[in-house]
């Protein structure tokens, strides 16, 4: 089985090498999509041994994931794992993340910060952004998941081939979940640990995601 990780990275020069090194024992290949960073994320990722490609202009995390996933499919990946570049996810969680796909019981696995393993989230996230995002999921899409915004996911080749990520920005998390459901993929949530080194997106970022989702819904 060829397991390919796709890491969207934007100005992650400080952390990217550590992330790549920790991932190596768990996956076959690592693809880093440098989204036109201003720092030397690209050079560092390349030197660390990842297959690194570079966007000419910054198009956002969703766009980077789309590019990376496309490349992974082109390189005959059997399983594609989306992983953040900011060292918040644990590489050790990967075996558990891909297990349901390996044994054929799932097409897509979503990492959840809210199942048994306990991730310490910033208060604004735990009590405002996440409940709101869950509500949007439920109201707009009728989807019940414990973690509405997880960026840690594993997709079978079949699932990734059917998936078209359209949202360039951060709203792609919700978009992907929605489309996995629409494609009738068998979805499993697996508990993961997410470490918050510093506050990631601010509250305003959370509201931007919700705004993006609603606008996309209206444009359709």
């Amino acid at each position: 089985m060829k397991i390919v990780t796709v890491i969207p990275a934007y100005n992650e020069a400080v952390k990217i090498e550590k992330v790549i090194t920790k991932l190596k024992p768990y996956v076959t290949e690592i693809i880093v999509v440098d989204d036109a960073s201003q720092d030397n994320t690209f050079e560092i990722a390349q030197a660390a041994g990842a297959l690194t490609i570079r966007h000419i202009i910054n198009r956002g995390q969703g766009a980077a994931l789309r590019t990376g996933t496309q490349l992974a499919l082109g390189r005959d990946a059997d399983i594609i794992v989306h992983f953040d570049a900011d060292d918040q996810f644990q590489a050790e969680d990967i075996p558990e993340m891909i297990a349901p796909i390996c044994d054929g019981s799932a097409d897509a696995v979503l990492g959840s910060r809210f199942l048994t393993k306990k991730s310490k989230l910033p208060k604004s996230k735990e009590y405002i952004i996440m409940p709101l995002a869950r509500l949007v999921n439920r109201l707009f899409f009728g989807i019940k998941l414990s973690d509405p915004q997880s960026g840690f996911r594993a997709l079978s080749r079949k699932s990734a081939e059917k998936l078209t990520i359209e949202n360039d920005g951060m709203a792609h998390c919700t978009e992907i979940i929605h489309k996995l459901f629409k494609n009738n993929d068998r979805i499993v949530e697996v508990p993961i640990t997410v470490v918050y080194h510093e506050f990631g997106q601010k509250l305003s970022g959370g509201f931007k995601i919700i705004k993006d989702i609603i606008i996309q819904k209206l444009i359709k």
Binding site: I53, R54, A63, R66, Q70, E166, D168
Partner: protein
């Protein structure tokens, strides 16, 4: 009277500009037609403001013809903004696609 004259001058200015743009081929035939109709109807509306006043009153609206024109202008603006948003969304999508194609080509 003076206001009407001013409005006509302004409309004439935009009409002349429109024809210039058309001559320099800066706008498409469709776009040209839309704007031509827009400014011509504005011109007619301004010239026949009195009659429009009467018509509006007959239809049972309070207020004068100029109010109705402002409402219509507002509607036109909202429509244009909406269309622009769609165009921009489409453009953004195209840019991302181009970007991806260029990235993967190497």
């Amino acid at each position: 009277m003076f206001q009407q004259l001013l409005a006509i001058i302004i409309i004439a200015f935009f009409l002349i500009r429109l024809f210039e743009q058309k001559k320099k081929k800066q706008i498409s035939a469709n776009e040209f037609l839309v704007w031509l109709i827009f400014w011509l109807s504005a011109l007619i509306a301004i010239i026949f403001l009195k009659q429009i006043d009467i018509l509006v009153a007959k239809l049972g609206f309070s207020g004068t013809g100029i109010n109705v024109l402002v409402y219509l202008a507002l509607l036109a603006l909202i429509f244009l903004v909406f269309r622009m948003r769609l165009t921009i969304a489409k453009m953004e999508k195209n840019i991302s696609e181009l970007n991806q194609a260029l990235t993967l080509k190497k």
